[in-house]
Each structure stands twice: as structure tokens, then as C-alpha cells.
């Protein structure tokens, strides 16, 4: 295995990690309007991912940065080629990120409703579009001999890639429902359970269809084996969900996401972005990669620092491991009616405290 192969694996790990973690963030955001009956519910839902969503999103930035460093050719063709799709993803992620911070900063229900919409759309749109993007990466896009994308936005909207989008959308939504089941109590948890059961069958059908199509059209024996693991994990996760095993169902669904991403990357290898037009335009691990020295340096950095990051990020999940319930959302004390002339209540009680 050469260094650029190692980096191909690392990029796959980073995307898997991103989808595993931000996958349930997206799911929670998508389910926000459907699971909550009132603002206390909504705040419980949002607070389940409150301490971790930003750290989860860094997996995306690291995947992007690592692709730039290890495969500049891939980064350049991919990001310029998928231009408008990425613009939409950027707008969605921006709106979603500020929405978490802004929604509780003003007591007006319309204000909150607006940001709740931003959280929903900011979660649903990337959940869909990342799948579309990965479908196109595996399927290939029109590239000229200089590796420049020659299609347009609609080139990306082919049936296979759209099915990929539906796969990530449904998988992440299910992932979010299973996460909420794991992290909440009472009625909210029951609603999350009902949604998870409702989503299970369509998700299995869509994901199995996409994986099957991937393997038939673009796969090989090894990727098909991993795709089978993904399908089994997905089914086992659903079975566990039906038997009320919260931890196992969430873990297995996460494993299904990781295995599905792995299957796509294995199917892709040794290409990183195939050309559907000029064969000379196909980007591979060798023609898109950085030189040996850069890969060596970056390997050392990754080997030394990744365990450190995983340790403290894992610790965060440990610190915030408890379930949240409605009683954790402290409603505003009477003393916090606010000072005259100031439109928001006093700090310290304007965004009532959550303790878990």
C-alpha cells in the first residue's frame, strides 16, 4: 500500500466519521418540527445535540482540508465542478449554524419559528445533497483532459445520484430518530420511537436499492461484501429498534452508515473522480495526489493528532451522556420579567438553563 492509498483510506474515514456524527445532527434537525409539540420539546430536541454539533461539523472541514492537502487535483475538480450544489450546502450550513445560536436569543415565537425552519432546511438540504454528491463521485462526471468539469448543475441530478441523496436523507433521519430515542425520555422518546418505526421500512428499501445499484453498476467483489455488511447492519439496527434496544439500534445504524460510505469508497478506488466523457480526465489516487513528501508529513500529523482529537471528542460524549427530559428545561422564573425598555429578559434567565 502506497501513501496515496493510505490517504484515500483516511479521506474515507473522515467522510464516514462526518456522516456518522453529523448524520444524527442532521436527523435531529430534520425531525425538530415533527417531534415537538411546544417550545420546551423543541429545546429538548436541540439540546440533545447542543454540545456536540459544532465539533461534529469539524469532520467536514477536516475532510475538506485533508483532500486539499493529499489530493489537490481531486479537491480542485470536485469543488469547482459541484459548484452550485456546494453553494447550496454552504448556505444551508451557515443558516443552520447561526440558527442554533440565535433562536433562543429573542422570546418572540415568530423569531423562533423562523430559526426552526432554518434548522430544518439547513439539516435536510445537506443531508440530501451530500448523497447526491457522493452518487456523482462514484458514477463519475464529465471531465476534460485537464480534469475540468464540463457539465452543469443538472448533470448532477441523474437518477442514480438522486437515489443516493434519498438514501442519505432517509438514513440520517432514521439515525436522528434513533439518537433522540437514546437521548430523551417520556413522550418525546415515544414519538421518536414511532417515527423510527415509520422510517425503518422505506429507509431499508431506499438504501438497499441504492447499494444494489451501486454494486451492480460500479462495484466489485470487495465493495459488494462491505455493502452487504451495511445492509445487514441496517436490518439488525431496525430489529433492535423494534425490540426497544436504544443503544444497539443507534450503534448498528451508525455502523450501517460507515459501511455504506466504505462500500462507495471501495467501489470508487483507485479512481477518486471518474470521467464519463474523456477517459484521460479521470482522476485517480495517483494522478490527483500530492507528492510523497507532503503525504509523509501529513501522515505523521494524522497519526500523532488523530488519537488526541478522538480522545477529547469521545470525552465530550461521555460528559453529556445523560438523557434529557422536559424537566431539565428550566422555565423562566417570575423575577426575569425584564427591565423596562429592554426587549429581552435579563441575561442568566433569558435562555433558561438546561441541566441534564
Amino acid at each position: 500500500m502506497q501513501l496515496h492509498d493510505f490517504w484515500f483510506v483516511l479521506i474515507a474515514v473522515l467522510w464516514s466519521g462526518y456522516f456518522l456524527l453529523e448524520g444524527f445532527d442532521f436527523g435531529v434537525g430534520i425531525l425538530l418540527p415533527f417531534l415537538s409539540h411546544d417550545d420546551v420539546d423543541r429545546r429538548v430536541v436541540i439540546n440533545t445535540i447542543g454540545p456536540v454539533w459544532d465539533g461534529n461539523e469539524v469532520w467536514l472541514l477536516t475532510a475538506g482540508g485533508a483532500t486539499f492537502a493529499a489530493f489537490p487535483g481531486w479537491y480542485a475538480s470536485l469543488f469547482s465542478g459541484f459548484y452550485l450544489a456546494l453553494l447550496v450546502i454552504l448556505v444551508a450550513l451557515i443558516a443552520r449554524g447561526v440558527a442554533f445560536e440565535f433562536r433562543g436569543k429573542h422570546p418572540d415565537p415568530r423569531w423562533k419559528a423562523t430559526w426552526d425552519k432554518a434548522i430544518f432546511l439547513g439539516s435536510a438540504v445537506p443531508a440530501l445533497l451530500w448523497g447526491v454528491a457522493f452518487g456523482n463521485i462514484v458514477r463519475g462526471v464529465p471531465l476534460d483532459a485537464d480534469h475540468n468539469f464540463t457539465g452543469n448543475f443538472f448533470t448532477l441530478l441523474n437518477p442514480y445520484a438522486l437515489l443516493g441523496g434519498l438514501t442519505t436523507l432517509s438514513l440520517f433521519t432514521l439515525h436522528g430518530a434513533l439518537f433522540l430515542r437514546l437521548k430523551t425520555t417520556g413522550e418525546l422518546r415515544e414519538r421518536a420511537t414511532r417515527v423510527a418505526k415509520l422510517l425503518a421500512a422505506p429507509t431499508v428499501v431506499i438504501a438497499a436499492g441504492f447499494l444494489l445499484w451501486s454494486e451492480i453498476s460500479y462495484g466489485k467483489a470487495s465493495s459488494a461484501a462491505v455493502a452487504a455488511v451495511a445492509a445487514i447492519a441496517l436490518l439488525a439496527g431496525v430489529a433492535m429498534a423494534l425490540r426497544g434496544r436504544d443503544g444497539w439500534s443507534f450503534t448498528l445504524n451508525g455502523a450501517a452508515i460507515v459501511a455504506a460510505v466504505a462500500a462507495l469508497f471501495i467501489a470508487l478506488y483507485p479512481n477518486v473522480l471518474p470521467s464519463t466523457t474523456d477517459a484521460a480526465g479521470t482522476l485517480t489516487v495517483s494522478n490527483a495526489s500530492s507528492a510523497h513528501y507532503t503525504l509523509t508529513v501529513m501522515s505523521w500529523v494524522a497519526v500523532i493528532f488523530t488519537p488526541v482529537v478522538l480522545t477529547y471528542q469521545g470525552w465530550t460524549y461521555w460528559v453529556f451522556r445523560k438523557r434529557l427530559s422536559r424537566s431539565d428545561i428550566v422555565t423562566e422564573p417570575a423575577a426575569a420579567a425584564g427591565k423596562p425598555g429592554i426587549p429581552v429578559p435579563r441575561a442568566g434567565s433569558d435562555r433558561p438553563e438546561v441541566s441534564q
Partner: protein
């Protein structure tokens, strides 16, 4: 869409998104440090006012932090989106510090900030204090790596050119990370960030002290921030002075353009301001300090400073025919405005230290009014500072190696860049208004009451 030049639009987009992003970044770096110091004071003394300070400024810090994070994603993506040929050319070198920034800095600041926000009353006090320091250190590490990447564009080192593949190839990572340009730009940026955080705290505190509200919280806030601002101002002057000399050797055209100095001069004067055209011969009126530019650029009062015209001829011989002059009006004015805004902010802070010395208070409200109105100064200085640095490098994208026009994405149409420019600018505009309104609101809410502040529940949860 034909007739729309993607190059010009991509440059505008980079300028707008970068200046906008950098409104929030220095405040994040500076304010996180001040909040960490406040919380340390609380941890060490147990005095409730320090906790109230931590919570009040912490809330404003978080509103600002969110904006810095989300606008940062655009920064990483747009190299590939708008500048794909640039990314192909430099990726082998430039990608490394970016990836390191994500792995070493972004994870640190995001994860530990999450722990800080939600960890009140949940983590032991000492551990909780450590989380804000980790987040704060993360923001500074992030600045280092992105400056190392930017410095490669200003002064490329540690690489060779692979002519066959037409790209730069990294040969020495330590040269890239230890680039003299980075070593001087980093303290300059950190001091600018501390100045920004300092002036922010000074200005908001002044609003309260002018009304005599919550003096026990805002007087110590003000004193801490005044000291930070004055120290940062001194640091900026010293690092800026060294930076000027480094820049004169590495990018002499940028220094000449900063001064609109057309002819090589020995000694060279520093022009304070100019009325009339800056084209070198239609000047109406200008105030010049004799020999000052020589000192700024070379460290001696008699040193020779090369002029724009001579450098342009020299570059034409080295790099072939072309125009190697940046836009002189932009570099000239951004350079002196950067110094002017920064200096004024530091002077107001120095005045504040004097009027508030040894428990005194200013007799009138004039100082507080001045302090309040000094709020925009560091933001303006930061913006024009980066505009100077980046515009002064033109026409180069990587100095001496790749021109800006050669870096733009060949596959992206003018219409696409225009779409993204309009969408992002509109979105940023709306968010700027929302953010400003929230900042003002929360700045006016005041600190939590003593009892509320010491309650064990977390204050910052969503």
C-alpha cells in the same frame, strides 16, 4: 452568461467573504482570551463579580463565535470552488497547513467551546476553566496555520516547482511553518485581535459606566481591557515595524505601493496624506515626514527605498512583459488607514488608563463617549489591513510564481460566480443585521444578578 468576467467576480467574492469573516475572527480570538482571564480571576478569588463578568462577556463572545464559525466554512470551500487552478498549483504546499488547522485547531476550539457552554455546573470548576483556555488557544493555533498558508502566497518558501505537472511541490514543511513572513504576521494578527477584543470590552463598559450602572462589573472589565488594548497597541507598533522591514525585502513593490513612491528615493519621506491623484505627478497637496519611510522600510534614516516605476521595470525583466503594479490608491490609503485606526484606538485606551488610574473616575462623560465611539476602529483597521496585504500582492496570487488571473477556476462560468457572489453577499448582509441587533440587545441586558450568576445551572445552553 457571457460577458461576465469570472476573475473579477471571484476576486470580489474572496474580498467580501474574507473581510466579513475577519470581522468576527479577531473578536473571537481577543474576547476568548479576556473571558478566560476573567474566569481565571473568578476561579482564583471566588469573587462573584468576576463570574458575572465571565457570563456577560461570554454571552457576547458566543454570539460572535457562531458567525465566525459558519463564515469560516466558506473560506475553506472557495479555494476549490472559485480558484481550482490555484488549488492545483499550490495544493501540495498550501493544503498542508489548512488540513493541520482543521485537525489541530478547529477540533480543539469547537469541542472545548461546546464543553464550556454546556459544562457549567457539570464539570469541576478547574476542568471547566481549562475548557475555555483550550478553546482560546485553539483560536490562536488556527490563526497560526492560516497565516502560514497565506504567507506562502506572500513569500513562497520550502518548495520547488514541478515544471512538468505545473505545480509547486513541498520540500520542507518546517520552512513553510517557520516562514519569516508567518513569524511576524502571527504576533501582528494576535495583537490586532487582542486590541479588537480590548476595544470591544472598553466600548461596552463605557456605555455602562457613563450611566453609572453595574460599576462593580464594568469598572474591572474596563481596566482589564484598557491594559490589554494598550499592550496590544504597543505590540502592534513593534510587530508592524518589523513587518515593514520584512515586507521591504520580500515584497518591495508592496512597500512602494503603500507609499505611492514612484521613484527610488534615498532617503525616502513618509506621506501622511495626499490630496489629488496618486499617479505620481498630479498631486495637489501632501504632508510628508522626511526620512520616515526610510526608517520604516530599512531601519535607518538614510536607507534607499525602491520606487514603483523602477520595480516595475525590474519585474518586467525578471518575469516578462506585463504590469506589476498593484492598485496604488487602494494600497496607499489602506496602509495609512490601518495605522491610523489602530493608533487612534490605542491612544484612546491609553487616555482611559490615565483617567481611571488608582480608583479615579473621569469627571465628565467625554472619555466614555470617546471610548464608546472607538468601537468600530479595530474592525476598520483589521479590514483595511488585510485589504492592504492582499491587494498589495497583486498581480500575483503566489508572489513571483502564479498570477491571480491564472488561478481562477476554468470550469466555472461568470454566471455561476455571480450567483454565488449575490447569494453569499445577501446572506451575509442579513446575518450582519441580525448579529448586530442581537449584540446590541445583549450588550444592553447587563450582567446576571449576583445570585443568578452563582446558580449551578448552565447559562449558555440552547
Amino acid at each position: 452568461m457571457k460577458g461576465v468576467n469570472p476573475l473579477t467576480l471571484a476576486r470580489w467574492q474572496f474580498g467580501i467573504t474574507t473581510v466579513y469573516h475577519f470581522l468576527f475572527v479577531p473578536l473571537t480570538i481577543g474576547l476568548s482570551l479576556l473571558v478566560a482571564i476573567m474566569q481565571t480571576a473568578w476561579y482564583r478569588t471566588g469573587q462573584p463579580r468576576y463570574l458575572r463578568m465571565t457570563k456577560f462577556w461570554g454571552k457576547l463572545f458566543l454570539i460572535n463565535f457562531a458567525m465566525g464559525v459558519v463564515t469560516g466554512i466558506v473560506q475553506e470551500f472557495q479555494f476549490g470552488m472559485n480558484w481550482s487552478d490555484y488549488s492545483r498549483f499550490v495544493g501540495d504546499v498550501f493544503g498542508a497547513p489548512l488540513a493541520m488547522e482543521a485537525l489541530l485547531a478547529f477540533f480543539l476550539e469547537s469541542t472545548f467551546l461546546g464543553l464550556w457552554i454546556f459544562g457549567w455546573g457539570k464539570l469541576p470548576k478547574g476542568v471547566h476553566l481549562a475548557t475555555i483556555w483550550c478553546a482560546s488557544i485553539g483560536t490562536a493555533i488556527s490563526a497560526y496555520f492560516i497565516l502560514a498558508a497565506n504567507s506562502f502566497m506572500q513569500h513562497p518558501v520550502g518548495y520547488t516547482i514541478d515544471a512538468e505537472k505545473h505545480r509547486a511541490v513541498l520540500t520542507d514543511i518546517w520552512a513553510v511553518l517557520g516562514n519569516t513572513t508567518t513569524l511576524i504576521a502571527f504576533p501582528h494578527t494576535i495583537f490586532a485581535s487582542i486590541l479588537t477584543g480590548g476595544v470591544f470590552v472598553v466600548a461596552v463598559s463605557a456605555w455602562y459606566l457613563r450611566k453609572g450602572r453595574d460599576v462593580d462589573v464594568y469598572r474591572p472589565s474596563m481596566r482589564l481591557a484598557l491594559v490589554a488594548t494598550v499592550v496590544a497597541g504597543l505590540g502592534l507598533a513593534i510587530s508592524g515595524d518589523i513587518d515593514g522591514k520584512v515586507m521591504t525585502t520580500q515584497q518591495p513593490m508592496k512597500m512602494a505601493a503603500a507609499e505611492a513612491l514612484y521613484h527610488t528615493s534615498k532617503p525616502a519621506p513618509f506621506s501622511l496624506f495626499t490630496i489629488g491623484s496618486l499617479n505620481g505627478h498630479d498631486e495637489v497637496f501632501s504632508i510628508k515626514v522626511p526620512r520616515a519611510l526610510s526608517f520604516l522600510a530599512t531601519g535607518t534614516f538614510t536607507g534607499e527605498v525602491k520606487g514603483i516605476d523602477d520595480l516595475n521595470r525590474q519585474y518586467q525583466q525578471t518575469y516578462g512583459p506585463g504590469d506589476y503594479r498593484p492598485m496604488i490608491a487602494v494600497t496607499y490609503w489602506s496602509f495609512r488607514l490601518m495605522i491610523g485606526f489602530g493608533l487612534l484606538a490605542a491612544l484612546i485606551a491609553a487616555l482611559g488608563l490615565w483617567v481611571l488610574r488608582k480608583g479615579r473616575s473621569p469627571t465628565g462623560r467625554r472619555f466614555y463617549t470617546a471610548a464608546l465611539w472607538s468601537l468600530p476602529l479595530p474592525f476598520l483597521a483589521n479590514s483595511v489591513g488585510w485589504i492592504f496585504t492582499e491587494m498589495g500582492r497583486q498581480p500575483w496570487l503566489v508572489f513571483g510564481k502564479l498570477k491571480t488571473e491564472a488561478g481562477v477556476s476554468p470550469s466555472v462560468s461568470g454566471g455561476e460566480v455571480l450567483t454565488s457572489l449575490i447569494v453569499l453577499t445577501a446572506l451575509y448582509g442579513v446575518l450582519a443585521v441580525v448579529d448586530a441587533v442581537l449584540m446590541v440587545r445583549y450588550a444592553r441586558v447587563g450582567p446576571p444578578a449576583e445570585q443568578a450568576a452563582t446558580e449551578p445551572e448552565p447559562v449558555f445552553a440552547y
